[in-house]
């Protein structure tokens, strides 16, 4: 506990706490770098952990041995492992992610082509989820605060657990059936028009929205029992002010960490949803690449997803520190 609870506790640590932001920034940057390194190493190891020869696997059992050997040399797979590792690191840092075994297209081009579609999906899905979940969760929290609305709570929790449990690809399939097969209202494949965004975004957003709303409700209920809420009431502030100015920021702080996890999960969720809606993004590409054993592409996309997740988490930590300065200190 690094609270400055009393002068007695605070004195030895005071010099360290003098520049909390600097400390925080350094620690965060350090952690990000270490995580990136772990990610790079993991993506490198991925191709080497695969049992058997990846090139043979990709080209198939009928490919001539010379072709396989040539390919291995071209990929540097015959070099000693440390050399390969350094080549891998160097390649990634200079933006060279190798070339596809199947299509011979540079992996970075594949990613450049596919990334925007996935980003759109993830960002829009997340925005919709937050826009729905925050007001719903907060309102539910106020309505079901201690001593209130037991029925509302039951209905809300039941609904949100069910909605939060349905996997996005099932939602997707159901949406395809209802809007595509039965009603024929909205496009169910591709990303040619703006309206083709509607169903995939919906499929992505429903689950996270339900989970976030549910956590926000619990947080609101918890926060509304806090001592500082009693203080706010002792100041005879109107209920609106107590809920929005005192309870909400604290409930959001607690929900923010979850937002990071949800956004990460949402990025991953695009893999499934893209496959349901034949969305030409990274997700459909990585699955087809895994099935065709096009490992350089898989490796590159795994890296992109990983970096995305790490960035999201760092952003969440920074936002958390801005909202609640204690969170910087708490880490020590």
């Amino acid at each position: 506990m690094a609270t400055t609870a009393s002068p007695g506790v605070a004195w030895p640590a005071r010099t360290l706490d003098a520049r909390p932001w600097l400390r925080f920034g350094l620690r965060r940057a350090g952690r990000l770098l270490v995580s990136l390194w772990v990610l790079l190493t993991a993506s490198f190891l991925m191709t080497h952990l695969i049992p058997g020869d990846p090139v043979r696997g990709a080209l198939g059992p009928t490919a001539p041995a010379e072709l396989v050997a040539a390919k291995r040399t071209a990929l540097g797979l015959d070099d000693p492992l440390p050399v390969q590792y350094l080549d891998h690191l160097r390649g990634v840092l200079t933006g060279d992610l190798g070339t596809s075994l199947i299509s011979q297209v540079p992996v970075s081009d594949v990613i450049g082509q596919r990334l925007p579609a996935t980003l759109w999906l993830a960002v829009l899905g997340f925005a919709v989820a937050v826009a729905v979940a925050v007001p719903v969760g907060v309102a539910a929290g106020v309505l079901t605060r201690r001593g209130h609305g037991r029925r509302t709570e039951l209905a809300f929790t039941g609904t949100s657990v069910v909605l939060g449990t349905i996997p996005d690809f099932l939602v997707g399939v159901a949406l395809v059936y209802v809007f595509g097969v039965r009603l024929g209202l909205l496009p169910v494949a591709g990303n040619d028009t703006l309206s083709s965004l509607v169903l995939p975004v919906l499929a992505l957003a429903i689950g996270p929205a339900a989970i976030l709303a549910r956590v926000l409700r619990v947080e609101m209920v918890r926060v509304l029992q806090a001592d500082y809420i009693r203080t706010a009431r002792a100041k005879r502030l109107p209920a609106r002010t107590v809920h929005l100015r005192h309870a909400l920021p604290n409930a959001l702080t607690a929900a923010l960490t979850l937002c990071g996890l949800l956004l990460g999960a949402l990025v991953a969720g695009t893999v499934l949803v893209e496959n349901v809606f034949a969305w030409p993004g990274l997700g459909s590409t990585i699955v087809s690449s895994i099935l065709t054993k096009d490992y350089p592409v898989v490796q590159g996309i795994v890296l992109v997803y990983g970096v995305g997740v790490l960035l999201v988490n760092t952003l969440v930590d920074v936002a958390l520190a801005l909202l609640d300065p204690r969170s910087m200190i708490r880490e020590d």
Binding site: P12, A13, L16
Partner: protein
């Protein structure tokens, strides 16, 4: 009867020094009261004596030998502040007490010993099968004392053992501490922020402030003629203190 001696003891957490070169003696068969405010390092010093806080410098000696901090034999035992946290909720109080006993006792010897210890702290021996949830705070604290005694300690460290108790119960525990100390001739380091409590239990008093012992000596002397300004501040702040009683 044994003597516990702290020699130039320092404890650091990270870069902050919590206990800074403390020297203190608990004479054989005596109770030394250690007073100070939160953050003064008094609890850390206590934890260092039983190996729960790592020493950064100095040494802690029991009758001239370093206090053993590994293995089964632990001649320095500790009673903790929070009676709700210091007993495993899933274990019967008999099992908690027996856990601290020397290994060589067999099952029936343990049962007899548990009964003896419970009676020693004025609890019904039949309650050995009770779980902590069935006991009040004061009763739990007495079980914690029994557990400390089960290890057949030479010295007992008591860390704020009454501060979590209601006033009507606090007296029971303090009376018991005095009684046990007198009957068993225990050496004891008794830590409290409450000067009146320390005065009642201890024959020697040490005052800690910001990781340093600022004053120590016989209780009567330190409390009646404090030499240090900080000790005087502490005494003046005791509610009901004659130094500042001021009724309108």
């Amino acid at each position: 009867m044994s003597e516990l001696r702290f020699e130039q003891v320092s404890v650091r957490y990270g870069r902050s020094t919590v206990v800074d070169g403390v020297s203190l003696v608990v004479p054989p068969g005596e109770v030394v009261g250690l007073v100070g405010e939160s953050g003064s390092g008094k609890s850390t010093l206590a934890r260092a004596a039983v190996g729960l806080a790592p020493l950064h410098g100095g040494s802690i000696l029991l009758d001239g030998e370093p206090v053993p901090l590994r293995g089964r034999r632990r001649p320095v035992q500790m009673v903790f502040q929070d009676p709700f946290s210091s007993l495993d909720p899933r274990m019967t109080i008999g099992a908690s007490i027996a856990e601290a006993m020397p290994r060589d006792l067999d099952r029936s010897a343990r049962r007899v010993e548990v009964a003896r210890l419970l009676e020693l702290v004025h609890l019904d021996a039949a309650r050995a099968d009770a779980r902590p949830a069935e006991l009040s705070g004061g009763q739990r604290q007495r079980v914690a004392l029994a557990r400390a005694l089960a290890a057949r300690p030479a010295v007992v460290v008591a860390d704020e053992i009454t501060s979590a108790l209601d006033v009507s119960v606090q007296g029971t525990v303090l009376n018991l501490v005095r009684e046990l100390q007198r009957e068993l001739g225990l050496s004891m380091l008794f830590i409290s922020h409450n000067l009146a409590v320390v005065r009642y239990v201890a024959s020697y008093v040490a005052v800690m402030h910001r990781g340093v012992v600022v004053e120590q000596g016989p209780a009567a002397q330190v409390l009646a003629e404090p030499a240090e300004p900080y000790t005087r501040d502490l005494l003046a702040a005791v509610p009901g203190s004659t130094l500042r009683r001021s009724h309108p």
